[in-house]
Amino acid sequence: MGAIQDKTGPARGPFFDGESVTRPCWSCEHDGDDLYNCSNCDRIQAFLKDTDYFTWFGIGRILSIDQDVLERQYHSLSRKFHPDYFQQRTPEEQAISLDNTARLNQAYRTLKDPKKRVAYLLSLIEGDKPLASEAPAELFEDIFEIQERLEAIQKSSLQDRGERETLLQSLKNDLDKMRAHRDEEERQLQKLFLAWDRLEENRKTDFFSDEQKAHLNHMKRILSHEGYLDRIVQNIQAVLEDNK
């Protein structure tokens, strides 16, 4: 696992830090401060380069996001961009409308889901690289046993009933344990969100503090367990289903 590097710029986008941002319109070159619509020629404007999902939604790089706030902003931007409203406009405007909406929808899908949200934040900070998928170290032993039980039950068609029942019962306990672990990691993630947000909101410099970096690394570790735990839960469920 790579260490978190200081690659981030200012955490706040042009929306909410009071700075007035202007942009030249692609069509009439008028400098306007309405980011998505030219006040001079009424043409739709594409998302600014070098802005990210967080800035589009008018939030900093924070992780505890109020779903209602997110939804409201999504609806309001959808009303600005949606291709339905550009059917009678020029091909250029239609193309921007389509591209903006596609990107907006992707952004909403990402930010709505807490895990996708962290993964996205990580990709902003560390660059686009696939997250590792690994087993939680504290569960190594359990997982090893679960694999053995799963294999045993596949081969156990000829075994006696009692042994089979015992195996199934153990697997049921395993399932509960894995689920409990998953829930626990989710709770931890929520706590980390809050801790991250507190630090991020009070950040004075352009760089992350060591504490923030530690939080990011912790969240990254939890994310890397997600796929693994999901797969084990699925495998156990499938076996239990088959042996009902």
């Binding site: 949606h82 339905d84 059917q87 596609a102 929808n105």
Partner: protein, 612 residues
């Protein structure tokens, strides 16, 4: 602004609607019915002008079963591999299609794609709308089942183009229905739309908030509908007739078709009555088959079909992250939801009495009309945010699917993927796109193969090509590629797996344009003929009335001009008819003026007389 119409292109029936002021309205046919049976009958002599659509075609179902096409929607955008052998046996017309080829329907020596057949239906709806609105209709919104895949959507769009319609949007049927209900009620909340039509089943879960209709999830079965219920009754009739009369109705196409129509009727009757009688007269005076059927027995025979709608409903709820109790309203759409048994199943599933205030046959077309109005700049406070029903993926090593866009993503949406080369100097890379939820390529539906060409020769792994997959608001995929080193767009060749290539579609469209031109020529000829006959009649009458007003020379000229027109009418030459009609106008001008002034004088004299 020209009206944009909303069209429900259904398996059994099709409808067209428009916004009349701020109310959506279905346009009725001359027979007063809102539904147009989705049936096309081809003429036995192969006369293209005599192709029948709708009720007229329905009358041919029995007598001309091999050339009367129904339920063509079931074959839209499909290939041989999408069907089972039973599908080929189930229809009395001939379906053909080789491996990896779009299915076609064979009438004599002519092959028609399902899109071409659908275009006949769309053209009839277009004409119906034009007659009602008194204007040319060129733009439309067409609905499709939410669970239609990319090829089926593309095939529907092609059908529109073939019919001379600019298809502004492909809208999902349940979503359209929710618009029609939403407009009526302007509610907030979670709506489940249960849409069981003639051939397809859809379930969509929507969240309505401040005019935004956001589809949270959708699921369905594009091979389940009323047709299948009819088939169960047909099976029963077949078995009975086989044992009682030793006749296999599947061997007599006309009888089989008749059995299907009787079954449909029986199904309808059983929605309001507890029992009915199946009556079918057998050919060659072999007697009449009669059998009583109760609603209970019918319901038992279709139980498994109705049960098949349950799993998609539960899946859609799970995908939306909701429990059935979270649903505030349930809306029924599609003719098959008239069955009490279906209504009961839905009620049990969602623990709510479903809505059916709007005619389940009309509600989709009404919603399409609303969407058409939004697109033409009318209503601006409603906005539909729909989703793609199936995940989009790429084939990777070992035939495993790598998902790029997950199902239930709000559309339009895009996904990006980086590509490079494996060998030094490699100049092209091919990709295989599939749609579906399974892990392996062989379990998903192949959509298309894309070929990236013209890559600059470089050591392996050096080229960096970014490929963007875009699903537009119609739910249709397009692919763009960019070479990140040079920044220039990379060409992408697309070979659809079953659908038609762009070239094939273009060829069909230009052929249909030629037909359209021929059709227009024919219409203009008929109009010219009608006008000529009227003018001749009027001129002859005028000549009698004003015999005293013309001299011999003038009279001869007029008679000659009439004879010329009559001569032109013996040939199919619109231009000559028109020219000679103009000639009549010229030679009768003086007579017309004289007649006019005489009638004015008479009128004035009459008036004076009456004044006295």
């Amino acid at each position: 602004m020209a009206t944009v119409v909303g069209i429900d292109l259904g398996t059994t029936n099709s409808l067209v609607a428009y916004m009349n002021g701020d109310t959506p309205e279905v346009i009725r046919g001359e027979n007063g019915r809102s539904t147009l049976p989705s049936i096309v009958a081809f003429d036995r002599e192969g006369h293209p002008d005599k192709t029948l659509v709708g009720e007229l075609a329905k009358n041919k179902l029995i007598a001309e079963s091999d050339r009367t096409i129904y339920s063509v929607k079931r074959f839209m955008g499909k290939g041989r591999e999408d069907l089972q052998d039973a599908d080929f046996e189930q229809v009395p017309f001939k379906l053909v299609g080789g491996e990896k080829e779009a299915l076609r329907i064979q009438i004599d020596q002519q092959l028609y794609t399902p899109s071409e057949i659908s275009a006949y239906i769309l053209r009839a709806l277009k004409q119906r709308a034009e007659a009602h609105l008194g204007e040319t209709v060129t733009q439309a919104v067409i609905t499709v089942p939410a669970y239609f895949n990319d090829s089926q959507r593309q095939a529907t769009k092609d059908a529109g183009r073939l019919a001379g319609l600019d298809v502004l949007r492909i809208v999902n049927e349940p979503t359209a229905a929710s618009l029609a209900y939403g407009l009526q009620k302007a509610k907030q909340g979670i709506i489940a739309v249960y849409d069981l039509g003639g051939g397809t089943f859809d379930i969509s879960i929507l969240k309505i908030k401040e005019g935004i209709f956001e589809v949270l999830s959708t699921h369905g079965d594009t091979r389940l509908g009323g047709d299948d219920f009819d088939q169960r009754i047909v099976t029963r009739i077949r078995e009975d007739i086989l044992s009682q009369f030793q006749i296999d109705l599947f061997e007599i196409p006309a009888l089989r078709q008749e059995a299907r129509l009787v079954a449909e009727q029986v199904k309808w009757t059983l929605s309001s009555q507890a029992k009915t009688e199946i009556v079918l007269s057998l050919p060659n005076e072999k007697g009449t088959y009669r059998s009583e059927i109760t609603r209970k027995a019918f319901e038992a025979s279709v139980q498994d079909l109705v049960d098949r709608t349950t799993a998609p409903c539960l899946q859609a709820l799970a995908d939306a992250g909701l429990k059935p109790e979270a649903v505030t309203e349930v809306v029924l759409v599609g003719g098959s939801t008239r069955m009490p048994f279906v209504q009961q199943t839905v009620e049990n599933l969602f623990h709510k009495t479903p809505h059916s205030e709007l005619d389940p046959d009309e509600v989709v077309a009404l919603g399409a009309a609303i969407q058409a109005n939004i697109l033409s700049g009318g209503i601006s406070d409603l906005l539909l945010l729909d989703v793609t029903p199936l995940s989009l993926g790429l084939e990777t090593m070992g035939g495993v699917v790598s998902k790029i866009i997950p199902r239930n993503s709000t559309i339009p949406t895009s996904g990006k993927e980086m590509f490079s080369t494996f060998v030094d100097g490699q100049q092209s890379v091919s990709m295989h796109i599939v749609q579906g939820e399974r892990e392996l390529v062989e379990d998903c539906r192949s959509l298309a193969k894309f070929n990236l060409t013209g890559i600059d020769p470089m050591p392996a792994g050096m080229p960096r090509i970014e490929v963007t997959f875009l699903i537009d608001a119609d739910g249709i995929l397009s692919v763009k590629a960019k070479d990140l080193r040079s920044g220039r767009a990379q060409s992408v060749e697309v070979t659809p797996t079953y659908g038609l290539s762009d070239a094939e579609t273009e060829a069909m469209i230009s052929a249909s344009m030629e037909h359209a031109k021929e059709d227009m020529e024919k219409r203009q000829l008929i109009e010219a003929r009608n006008e000529a006959e009227t003018v001749i009649r009027h001129t002859e009458k005028a000549l009698k009335q004003g015999a005293d007003l013309v001299d011999e020379e003038e009279c001869a000229a007029i008679l000659a001009a009439i004879a010329e027109v009559k001569d032109a009418l013996t040939r199919e030459d619109r231009k000559t008819i028109r020219e000679r009609l103009n000639r009549i106008g010229e030679v009768t001008q003086s007579l017309a003026e004289k007649l006019m002034s005489r009638s004015v004088k008479e009128a004035l004299q009459n008036k004076r007389l009456s004044d006295i």
